[in-house]
């Protein structure tokens, strides 16, 4: 009952304070950004500039064939402005370079097509057809988009010249070399003969969903860690801990009530983002269990750190270091090639992995339960230490 009174009091104070609304407002902002600005499957609308070095009739035949097959769609001609520029063009085959110098600004009209991805039906590329090769090279240089010259010899065989920026990887250049070494029909046949298996499960999170594990991990764990410290320092500055210490209630119930305030806030703010985005995909029982225990563990850590300092300004150095260290696993999450062994010892690593699995709807239940137990026990131990330390630091 005393614990409950303290919890209700803490909720009243939290709801009349700044930090409670920070979490809620951030959650609403994140939700709006994800729903409005982050597409589930972002379109990669690259631009490509092409010059056909062939008779006009032949080029029209090629384009008509593509249109009929539904590979491209005709758009209105685009007016393009070519600004004055100068650059050197290096031929990778011969090693010779050629200087270009354009002094005058120039406007041209380019035939414009959209390339359609047959699988998704989405536009994957916008292609501009140039009448002059020089114009194609000039715009490719100034915009950073790739240019290509398609040449037909007298026998009708096509060859390709690509104009790239120079910073592309060797792998990309190699792909361009082999791209047209097969007859087009062969490519599809050969692709069908290949088998590609993905390591790490079948379910994928789309662009919008893939943000959720990171948001939940850092909002639930790190914000809980930071905000509970703020609450404790606010109480210290008001001296109310001393007043509490001369009542029959235990410091333990005070600390536990603080932790439950954080849990309540985290559950609300996480639900605001997760439910509308993920809908019924995750196992919510597992999600709330994992969220609860991980948040509890980090809140307890926040209490322990707070017990060593008088004010948030004195604790800031330690607070900053801990938060930076715990954010590191986010690099592994987004850059799969960066996954050093030591990273797995940071507690936010299993939190991210756990939430990723839960959000995919294919969580490794034993992994989540094991770490739930670890975080719960860790939280209890940290809270016990915080309790001992707080008893010693209630100075007059």
């Amino acid at each position: 009952m005393k614990w409950f009174s303290t919890y209700i009091k803490e909720m009243k104070i939290a709801s009349r304070g700044f930090y409670f609304y920070v979490e809620i407002v951030i959650a609403v902002i994140v939700l709006i950004i994800l729903l409005v600005a982050v597409k589930e499957y972002p379109e990669s609308k690259a631009k490509e500039y092409i010059y056909y070095d062939m008779p006009a009739e032949m080029m029209e035949q090629v384009m008509e064939k593509e249109i009929l097959e539904g590979n491209i769609r005709v758009l209105e001609d685009t007016e393009l402005t070519l600004k004055p520029t100068s650059f050197e063009l290096l031929d990778k085959e011969t090693g010779k370079s050629e200087a270009y110098d354009f002094m005058e600004e120039k406007s041209i009209m380019a035939k414009t097509y959209e390339v359609i991805n047959q699988e998704t039906g989405l536009v994957s590329q916008t292609v501009y057809i140039f009448d002059q090769k020089e114009d194609m090279i000039r715009l490719s240089n100034s915009t950073g988009n790739m240019g290509a010259s398609i040449i037909s010899d007298s026998s009708g065989t096509l060859s390709y010249e690509y104009y790239i920026q120079g910073y592309e990887t060797d792998r990309f250049s190699e792909v361009l070399y082999i791209l047209h070494t097969f007859v087009t029909d062969d490519i599809e046949e050969r692709m069908n003969q290949q088998t590609i298996r993905e390591i790490g499960g079948t379910e994928r999170l789309n662009s919008r969903e893939s943000v959720i594990p990171v948001y939940i991990a850092f909002s639930g764990a790190l914000m809980g860690f930071f905000i509970i410290m703020s609450y404790v320092f606010l109480d210290k500055s008001e001296g109310v801990i001393k007043a509490f210490a001369v009542t029959p209630s235990s410091v333990w119930s005070y600390l536990l009530s603080k932790t439950f305030v954080i849990l309540t806030t985290v559950l609300i703010s996480s639900s605001i983002v997760v439910i509308p985005i993920m809908k019924l995909k995750p196992n919510y029982l597992l999600f709330y269990l994992f969220l609860g225990v991980s948040s509890f563990a980090f809140s307890s850590l926040g209490l322990l750190v707070a017990s060593f300092f008088d004010s948030i300004s004195k604790a800031f150095g330690v607070l900053y270091l801990i938060m930076i260290a715990f954010m590191l696993p986010a690099f592994s999450y987004y850059i799969s090639s960066f996954d050093p062994f030591w990273m797995q010892f940071l507690p936010t690593y299993p939190i991210l992995e756990g939430f990723k699995g839960i959000m995919k709807g294919e969580a490794d239940v034993s992994y989540v339960l094991l770490y739930s137990l670890v975080f719960f026990l860790g939280g209890v131990i940290l809270l016990a230490f915080a309790n001992m330390k707080f008893k010693k630091t209630l100075t007059v």
Binding site: M1, S5, V240, T247, S249
Partner: protein, 284 residues
């Protein structure tokens, strides 16, 4: 109600003692004043008695409980009014008192009645953060009365209050004494101590220099004085003369006989003057 024997305390365990081997007792129903300047060791002693500071050496029994053992139920019998106001600024005055009332295992007083007692009626639903310093102090003061404490620790209970409110606070302390409450009053204000305390302890540099009743101290250390204002050769003259000094007594008789007396008052030595006489130091 309070038994302290050979109590010492060092903050840094470096041999420098904030409290140095003090012993005293406070009887049930007594108002005991703990007097001394800042840094004398008053707050450290009160911190140990209230359990806010860990006891290091000596023996301390408070309200029947040995403070070395963690027994939170002892706080059902104890009330502590802090010198610095420490209330939840985001809670209203009433919420503050109701919350703390819920923490006790004994029947508690009606928060609204307590607020009325210190003139905060009508402000029950205002947040404490909007209160003036004096109002916060009054709220802190009545909070310590919630559990009808048998033993009441009062740390500078009237400091920073205007005279009218200070008088109200003093009256409440007197009323509680009538009801049998034991009070441990920590202050550097000798007038308050003189008015409220049955016995006082003078503390300086962590040591208790003496313990006695204000009356005994005045009899032992003080001298009765007479302030006389009279007219001599057209000028107003002032003299303070000792009633026990023969030459002064003769001078008083001469002044009364020969001059026009404007005012004449008898005066006792104050506790502050006695403190200076005993310790050689002032109270600030």
């Amino acid at each position: 109600m309070i038994h302290v024997k050979n109590l010492s305390h060092s903050y840094n365990h470096d041999g420098k003692l904030a409290v140095n081997n003090i012993s005293f007792e406070v009887k049930k129903g007594e108002t005991f004043g703990f007097l001394g300047p800042s840094g004398a060791g008053k707050s450290t002693t009160q911190g140990i008695l209230t359990g806010l500071l860990k006891q290091q050496d000596g023996e301390v029994i408070v309200a029947g409980y040995n403070v070395k053992k963690v027994q939170n139920e002892r706080f059902n019998k104890i009330g502590v009014s802090f010198e610095q106001s420490n209330v939840y600024s985001k809670l209203t005055a009433l919420e503050n008192l109701k919350y703390y009332a819920d923490l006790f295992n004994v029947p508690t007083r009606n928060p609204k009645e307590l607020l009325k007692l210190v003139g905060l009626d009508g402000r029950e639903n205002d947040r404490a953060g909007e209160f003036s310093k004096g109002m916060k102090h009054r709220l802190t003061f009545v909070r310590s009365m919630l559990n009808n404490p048998e033993l009441w620790f009062l740390d500078e209970p009237t400091t920073g209050l205007d005279p009218a409110i200070a008088a109200v606070i003093k009256d409440i302390i007197k009323e509680e004494k009538e009801r049998g409450t034991t009070s441990f009053l920590t202050t550097h204000n000798m007038y308050i101590a003189d008015e409220l305390c049955d016995r006082v302890a003078f503390m300086l540099d962590g040591e208790i220099k003496l313990i006695d009743t204000p009356k005994n101290l005045k009899q032992q250390y003080g001298q009765k004085l007479i302030d006389i204002e009279y007219v001599k050769d057209g000028k107003i003259m002032n003299e303070t003369l000792k009633t026990k000094d023969e030459s002064d007594r003769a001078k008083i008789a001469d002044i009364v006989k020969s001059y026009d007396i404007q005012t004449m008052h008898s005066k006792e030595a104050t506790l502050e003057e006695i403190f200076i006489q005993v310790t050689g130091r002032g109270l600030i």
